[in-house]
Amino acid sequence: MSGLLAWVLVGLGVPVLVVRRPSIAVGLVTAQALVLAGYALHEATAGKDALAAVALGARALGLGALFLVVAARTREPRPVRPGMPPLVRAGAAVAFALVLTWLVPTIGLSSRNAERAVLALVAFGIAAAATSRATLFQVIGIVLIENGIAIAALTLPGASSLIEIGIALDLTLIVFVAAFFHERIFAEFGAGDTAALRSLRD
C-alpha cells in the first residue's frame, strides 16, 4: 500500500471525529470503505480476492444506505452535542493513534504505511465510540475500527476470502441491530442521545 493511499484513508477518518451531522460522517466512512474496496479489486490476483473486494464494496454501500435511511427516519431537531469539543476529540484521537503506533511493534503487513493506517483508524474508531453521545456516531466509530482492520486483512499475505466476507456480513448484522436499537431509543427518549441512558448504575 502506498503512502498516499494510507494518508487518504486516514484523512477520511479524522473528520468523522469533528463533524456533527451524521450524514457527513456516513459519507466519510462509506467513501473510505469504497476506496479500500477499489484497492482490493486492483490488487486481486484470483477470483476469491475479487469476491472479497466486491463483498467489501457491497458492505460499504449497504451500510451507507442503511445509515442514511436511519438518519432520515430519526431526524434530530438539532445535532446531539458530543461529550467534548470536536477539536479536543480529534486531538485526543490523534494522540491515541500516535501512542498506539509507538506501542505496537512491526506487525508484519506488506508495508509500514498500511500498519500505521490500521492503528490510526482503530484509534479513531475507539475514540469516536467512546467520546460520542450520539448513538449513530458510536456505531460509526465501530465501522471506522472495522475499516482499519479491513486494511490489515487486505494487506495480509494469503488472505481467506471466506473469513473476510464473514467479517463484512457480521459487521452488517451488528449495524442492523444497532440501527434497530437506535430507532427504539429515539422513539423512547426523543433523541439518539446516550446521555438519556444513565438509569442503570450501582
Partner: protein
Amino acid sequence: MTREVLAIAVIAFPAAASVLLALLPPAVVTRVALAWALPSGGLALALAARALTDPSHPFTSKWIAVDAAGGLVVGVTGLVGLTSVLFSPAYLATVRHEHRERHYFSVLYAFWSVVLAVPLVGNLGGAWLLIEATTAASALLVGFSGRPRALEAGWKYLILTSVGLGVALLGIVLLAAGIPGGGLGALTWHALGTYGSGRQTAIVAYLLLLAGLAAKIGWAPVHNWLPDAHSEAPAPVSALLSAALLPAVLLVAWRCEHSLAPVVGIHTAQGVLIAFGLASLAVAVPFLWRPLAWKRLLAYSSLEHMGVIAIGIGFGTPLALAGVAVHVIGHAIAKALGFYAATPLLRHEPRAAGHAVTGISHTRPELGATLGISLGFLAGLPPSPLFLSELLIVAGGFQSGRPWAAGASTLLLALGFLGLMHALLETTVGKARRRDGGPVPGLRSLSALTAGSTVLLLVLTGIGIWLPGSDLVKALVTGIV
C-alpha cells in the same frame, strides 16, 4: 455418527429451528419451540458425552474441533439452552407485544445455535465471527422487553462488546500476519503455535486478543455491560448469557492461551489470565456485599465466577484444571436456576426488579428455598461443587508455584463467600414485607427443577472428588494441540 457429523447436527438443529419458527403461524410457535428443544439439547448432550468419555482422542479439522474442554461447554450450553426454552413461556406470559413468541423463540434459537458453535469451531477467525454473531442475537434478546432500561442495557452491551471484539480482531490480524500460510482462515488452534514474527509482536497480539475477548467475557475492568445486560434480559436469556455464553467465549481465550503459550512464553500467557481473574474477583466482591436486586446480584456473581475460572486456567495444573471443569458445570446449573427463579420472584414481589428483596421464605417458602439453594451453591457452601472446585483451583495455584496469586484468590473468595451468605440470609429469612398472597404461576415447575438441579450438583461434587488424575483432566492439560 462421527463426531464431526454430530457437531454439525448440534449447530444445525437449533439454527433450522430459528428459521422455521420465524415462518410458522404464531398459534403453533410455542409448541414447536418447546418440542424442538428436546432433540436440540439432546444432541448437544450426546456430543458432550462422546467428547468427555473419550477425552484422549480429540477431533480437529480446519473448521471443527471436538475435544474435552469443548465437550464441557457444549454440554452445559445444551442443558441450559434446553431449560431456558422450557422456562420461556413463563417469562413470555409477562410480556405484552404482538408476535412476541415468534420473535423471541426465533432469535433465542439463533442465539443458542451460535453459542453451541463457538466451542466447536476449529479456527480462531471462525471463532471471532461466531462470537460477533452472538452479540447481534443476544443484544436483541436483552432489549426484548422494550423497556427503557432494557434498551439502555442492550445498547451498552452492543457497543462495548463490538468495540472489544474490534480490538480482538486486530490481535487476530497481527497473528495471521506471522503464521505460515497466512490469512485469517489459516488460524487453526494448532497453527497458532507456529507464529513466527517474533515474541514481542506475539505478546502484543495476545494482549489485544485477550483484552478484546475480556470485554465479551465480562472480565474486569471491561465488564460494565455485564450487570446491566444480565439484569435487564429476559430471565431465560440471562441464564444462557451467564451459564453458556461467557464460558464459551472464555474457552476461546483458553484455547488462545494454550496455543500461544510456546510463542509468548507460558508464564506470560498464564499471567495475563490470572491478572484478569484477580481483577474480576476484586471488582465483584464489594458488590456481593451490597443489597442488590436479585438479577444484578447474580450478574456480579457471574463476574466473580468468570474470574475464578480464569485464575484456574491461568494456574494450569491438573488440580486447577479439574477445578475449572467442575466450576464451569456447577456454576452453569446453579446460576441458571437462580435466573429461572427471577420470573416467579418478580410476579411475587415486583420491587425485586430494582431492589434487594428480603424474607421471601416467610411469604413463599418454595420460592425462598430455590433462591437459597441457588445462592448457597453459588457461594460455595459445602457440599457445593463450587466449594470443591475453588479448593482445587487454590491448591492448583500453590502447586503451580504462584503462592501470592493463590493466597489473594483465597482471600477474595472468602470475602465473596461471606457477601453471598449475607445475601442468602437476607433474601430468604430476612425481615419480610407485606406481599400479595395470590398464586404465582410457574412455581411447581421451578420446584421440580430445583430438586433436579440439587441432585445434579451433589452428584457433581462426588464426581469432582474423583476427577483429579482422570483422563479428562489429562486431556484438559494437553489441550487441543
